[in-house]
Subunit: 116 residues, 2 copies
Amino acid sequence: MVTYELSDTDVDRIFQALADATRRDIVSRTLTDELSVTALAGRYDMSFAAVQKHVAVLERATLVVKRRRGREQMVQANPEAVRRAARLLDAYEKIWHDRAERIGDLLSDTTKGTEQ
Amino acid sequence: MVTYELSDTDVDRIFQALADATRRDIVSRTLTDELSVTALAGRYDMSFAAVQKHVAVLERATLVVKRRRGREQMVQANPEAVRRAARLLDAYEKIWHDRAERIGDLLSDTTKGTEQ
DNA sequence: TTCATATGTAACCATTTGGTTGTACGTTAG
DNA sequence: CTAACGTACAACCAAATGGTTACATATGAA
């Protein structure tokens, strides 16, 4: 598995992009269907320009990609980016799990004299 | 496993809180060590008030909890919240995976006449 | 009690965000 | 070719964000 190096700014952009319900919905929809910006705009109670901006935020965060089809721009989620975000959080979980395990060891392991 | 229902606003707050490198670092550190706000503030090149605000943002998002110890407030990450965030992203991955599987089935399954 | 420490909060500021409307431009349909 | 459509972008606005300094409050030490 190839894991790309994400800068702090990259990660900022990913979580920032996910911190809005409309944008999460766009990701959700475009995971299964490739939708034009106009088609997406029709689904939300806001201007086309607003939706277009949301798509741009997602694009900057690499959470979606756009592909030209005639005069339309088809939006599709990038599952790899979603995956990377999930793995980032997994890493936090792992830190915690390792610590919990260490504490467990300290509490149960009474044979060795490594405690201070 | 108990899964709490998260509102859009809850999720907004979680991802918003994670969209800042300082706050991610605070989560990371307090997963292993319980640290006072002052101890945390000492580690970043910004005012105490700024760090205190970051902790407040994390607290509102339930990503950390505070516990009083004498005159200090000890900050500790809440692994359950991190976990919930990770599972949210897993759900997106699952949507994509299911769709990929459906497409795979359509392409490979030539024996049944279920295609439209 | 008094003082120092740890925290919280208010007021302020610059920048970003999330929305708007209007306009310009590229592409396709007729 | 021309008109309609789909998209992009600029200018604007209100609200939120991320930082500051200053002050207020709570707790522990002596």
